[in-house]
């Protein structure tokens, strides 16, 4: 009888499919039968028989597979929970670290999602673009165009489905006794076709067709009409015009860059304008909705020269900004893509710290699982099975962490919203994306955190573990370079964050305490309106009657934020080829005196010279530099106005003062007297007055006499000033909190590691003590290792932090220096925190009675 062997591939497959308990005898049976068939009916038939067995076995194979993996999962879970239960402290540290890390990640994810979804709620969001003009001479982009551009686009270009012009303003809305200031806009009726702002009442098609119609937000409807029906009722604007409510829209959402409380027909704006057909007067926003899938870059090139075609001399280029990019990329968007990146990176950092914690603690405690690994291997577990088991365990931990993190997020959201001025919410219903996102975070965390422990634990050799020679020793743990590296990474990130926080706060401090060139304390600014503006002089003298009020002056802009930039100035000795770009502000005679500025050349404005009101100019040092002239005082100077050039003379030079946030350099500035544009009143009060509310009440009473129809509003300069740096303040505080949490998580891990270390070295410490070691000596011995790592972490973190913060400071024209003291301070801080964390365990181990540690067996 000839013996042949069955197909190799088939037996390989069969071997893996068969139940291990009968694997070899059944395989033998199949081969015996194969031989029998081969001898009787031929090899071919035998082969068919053999291959058939695979298909026959398939159903039971699947059944077994599910049964056994189910059985093993139950076992894995049981062991995991038993271990968790046995080491409650470590499990808590592990899970808490992961939970805090994930909670921060989720918060940042919500924030990032909100930032990225800005303006995306419009149905046509992808096809809407805002027009802007590129002023090539100065390389600036302004998101405003002239009135005729919008309608012309729609008529001349088939790609444009619709366009809308928007001009925003704030006005006083009144109805009978109720009055309040609201932000509104003049818009074309197509506004509601292009943007998705749903109507609660009224018809979106006809709402703005009549010139006296007004569409209001739900909030405003509630304010003025309570629960009543606002449709058809009247509202008065700026105590002058009456409008009839024709529609109520849902409040514009918080993640919309358009945010108005009421809308008026654009017609009114057009009629009010003195030259609406002028293509060269840039003053309004215009949005265009393009046909689906119009290549917008091509279209942008097509319209670029539109202004020149309509005879705008030296006309700027027209351009397009996609609606969905406005918030994060446009200069006026309010958001900043850089912060999206920065915070995403921080989220990853903190998650990494939490994962490192988990890795370190799990591997440090690996000897408690060593016997289990040995047993599993002896009873047939393969390394892959063990890796699966430990990975699964860490994923289980991270999902428990996720559940805790969700609770944390719910608790922290109100505070976080407050900090970030957002209205973020965890809304699980219908938001599958974010649920999947969170699950993905947990899975990623679990796999990352479990990767190293799984590889480490599964590498144990059963022969080592199960013989008595396997004992975890300090030496073995010390040798573990990988774990040291992990601790270093963890603390490097913490030190990096500490340094960043210090630098941010130092910069904020620097800004707030910089000499601005004027005195910002004890000054109120009051917007001038109605008769208070028309009878300014009377109003002023009435105010000055109170001895607590030292000075009263008026300006066209709040001195902290002067943005009126013009071109076309002329002066004696001007280089005709050079463009003259300057900031101007119109002031009253006593402006410089009121704000305590210093005149360094020439003289201040004075009522003694009658000509000052008509032709005097005072410029700042930056202007002198930009004008490139010697001894400016007495030189001829002229500014462009609606009525032609205003000719005059420079009478003085004022010391540079910061009239914009310190992000910007001080620009050339020119001041002159112009009562027709007094928009704000500046009132300096006595610095030593204790009765500030009394003064404000007094001013309000005077206000009521002059302008009873307008609400009295005031701001203190210094609080307005603080608001300018709120985004830096916020970044600083957010950084502060994140840093604190990062350090906290790192310390949790360090605490666990230290506990582990001293536990492993119990015997060593006992013997050392018996031989006469002191408590301080042992404490030092135990702490030394960890502290060495923290020092290394500092060295690693410093260059990164220096580079990153240097980059951040580039945003500011006036910046603090980073300074070595920040690094030293951060280093000491990290060191002390680590020392406190570790020394608790070290001291505990050092003072323990050696009798207890040496007594067992």
């Amino acid at each position: 009888m000839r013996i042949i062997s069955p197909p190799k591939i088939a037996s390989w497959i069969l071997e893996r499919m068969l139940d291990p308990r009968v694997r070899y005898s059944a395989l033998g049976d199949f081969e015996e039968k194969f031989n029998a068939i081969a001898n009787q009916k031929g090899v071919f038939k035998a082969r068919i028989f053999y291959w058939m067995q695979i298909f026959i076995l398939f159903p039971s194979f699947i059944r077994n597979l599910i049964y056994w993996s189910g059985e093993m999962i139950v076992n894995y879970l049981k062991i995991a929970f038993r271990n968790m239960n046995r080491n409650k402290g470590y499990s808590f540290i592990n899970i808490a670290g992961l939970a805090i890390g994930m909670a921060i990640c989720i918060l940042i994810l919500l924030w990032v999602q909100d930032e990225l979804n800005f303006d995306r709620f419009h149905e046509n969001a992808e096809n809407i673009y805002r027009l802007n003009m590129h002023d090539q001479r100065y390389g600036v982009v302004w998101p405003i165009v002239s009135i005729p551009v919008g309608p012309a686009l729609k008529q001349e270009f088939p790609e444009v489905m619709d366009s809308v012009r928007v001009s925003d303003f704030s006005g006083l809305v009144t109805r009978e006794e109720k009055k309040s200031d609201e932000i509104g806009a003049y818009v074309d009726p197509s506004f509601f076709e292009i943007f998705s702002f749903p109507f609660v009442k009224g018809d979106s098609k006809t709402a703005l067709s009549a010139p006296s119609s007004i569409v209001i937000s739900e909030e405003m409807a509630h304010k003025f009409f309570g629960t009543g029906d606002p449709l058809g009722k009247n509202l008065k604007l700026n105590n002058a015009l009456d409008f009839t409510v024709t529609g109520v829209i849902k409040d514009m959402p918080q993640n919309s860059h358009l945010d108005f409380d009421f809308l008026l027909p654009f017609e009114i704006f057009e009629q009010k304008d003195r030259d609406p057909s002028n293509w060269g007067r840039f003053q309004i926003y215009t949005y265009a909705m393009l046909q689906d899938s119009t290549p917008f870059k091509d279209f942008e090139n097509k319209i670029a020269g539109l202004l020149q075609e309509h005879n705008v001399r030296e006309g700027p280029k027209l351009g397009l900004e996609p609606l969905i990019r406005i918030h994060l990329y446009a200069a006026d968007g309010g958001g900043d893509m850089r912060y999206v990146y920065i915070f995403s990176i921080i989220a990853v950092f903190i998650l990494v710290i939490a994962c490192i914690n988990f890795m370190n603690l799990t591997t440090a405690r690996s000897f408690t699982r060593a016997k289990e690994v040995g047993m599993r291997k002896v009873t047939g577990a393969k390394r892959a099975d063990l890796i699966k088991q430990f990975m699964g365990e860490s994923v289980l931990f991270s999902f428990i962490g996720l559940a805790l993190a969700t609770v944390l997020v719910i608790l922290l959201l109100p505070a976080f919203n407050n900090l970030a001025s957002k209205q973020l919410a965890l809304n699980p219903q219908g938001n599958w994306n974010s649920i999947l996102g969170f699950a993905a975070i947990a899975l990623f965390t679990g796999l990352l955190a479990g990767s190293y422990p799984a590889l480490f634990l599964s590498s144990f050799r059963p022969t080592h573990i199960l013989t008595r020679s396997f004992f975890p020793t300090a030496g073995r743990a010390k040798k573990n370079l990988f774990r040291k590296a992990l601790v270093v990474i963890q603390f490097s990130i913490s030190v990096f964050l500490i340094i960043s926080t210090f630098v941010i706060f130092k910069q904020i401090h620097f800004i707030q305490n910089r000499n601005l060139g004027y005195d910002k304390d004890h000054i109120l600014s009051i917007p001038l309106r109605g008769a208070a503006a028309q009878q300014y002089e009377a109003f002023k003298s009435e105010l000055l009657r109170d001895s607590r009020i030292l000075h009263v002056t008026a300006t066209s802009e709040v001195p902290i934020l002067i943005y009126k930039v013009h071109i076309g100035y002329d002066w004696e000795g001007k280089d005709p080829s050079k463009e003259s770009r300057m900031t101007e502000v119109l002031v009253d005679h006593d402006f410089i005196e009121t704000l305590n500025m210093t005149v360094i050349q020439g003289r201040d404005f004075s009522k003694d010279y009658a000509t000052d009101a008509l032709e005097a100019y005072i410029i700042n040092e930056a202007a002198v530099k930009a004008m490139d002239i010697e001894s400016p005082v007495g030189k001829r100077f002229s500014t462009p106005t609606h009525a032609g050039m205003r000719e005059g003379t420079i009478i003085g030079v004022v010391k540079d003062f910061h009239f914009r946030p310190l992000r910007d350099e001080i620009d050339p500035l020119v001041m002159f007297i112009g009562p027709e544009q007094f928009n704000f009143l500046c009132v300096r009060v006595k610095p030593d007055t204790s009765d500030l509310p009394g003064i404000i009440r007094y001013i309000e009473n005077v206000w009521q006499k002059f302008a009873p129809n307008f609400p009295f509003m005031y701001n203190f300069f210094d609080s307005t000033f603080d608001r300018l740096y709120r985004s830096e303040q916020k970044t600083g505080s957010v950084f502060g909190y994140f840093t604190f949490l990062a350090i906290f998580i790192s310390c949790l891990g360090l605490f666990g590691l230290a506990a582990q270390m001293s536990e492993m070295r119990t015997k060593e410490i006992g013997i050392r003590k018996v031989l006469g070691a002191s408590v301080s000596g042992i404490t030092l011995l135990l702490s030394k290792d960890f502290l060495k790592w923290v020092v290394v972490a500092n060295v690693v973190a410093w260059p990164f932090a220096f580079f990153a913060m240097n980059k951040w400071l580039q945003n500011f024209a006036y910046k603090t220096n980073i300074g070595i003291e920040i690094f030293v301070l951060s280093g000491i801080l990290a060191f002390v925190i680590a020392l406190i964390t570790v020394s608790y365990q070290s001291i505990k181990a050092a003072v323990a009675n050696p009798v207890d540690s040496l007594r067992y067996e």
Partner: protein, 107 residues
């Protein structure tokens, strides 16, 4: 004591009949011969595992042979429990088959 199934009864009887030559293939052949149906190797092994677990049979490793690709045969033998289980089934059978009216069915 648990009542064994029909297949288990047949397998136990086959093992008893085969005496020293009861292993996978021979048992399967016996079962197929007795029932006239094509039982799969898997079903036979499943029952054998169950019988092993309940202690009605024991398994003995044989010598490796070339025709099995160098693998050992696993021989099965009845334990006293197995024999007792068979007798119990036999007793039940004889009781329930006695004193019943004659019936005729075409096979």
């Amino acid at each position: 004591m648990r009542m064994i199934s029909r297949l288990e009864e047949i397998i136990l009887l086959s093992i008893w009949r085969l005496q020293d030559d009861a292993y996978g293939i021979t048992i399967q052949e016996e079962v197929i011969k007795a029932t006239g149906k094509a039982w799969l190797t898997g079903s036979i092994y499943a029952s054998l595992s169950r019988l092993l677990k309940h202690g009605l049979v024991v398994s003995i490793e044989g010598e490796p042979t070339a025709e099995r690709g160098g693998r050992r045969k696993i021989y099965y033998k009845l334990t006293p429990e197995g024999q007792r289980a068979l007798l119990a089934v036999k007793r039940v059978n004889s009781i329930i088959w006695s004193d019943i009216p004659v019936f005729e069915v075409e096979e």
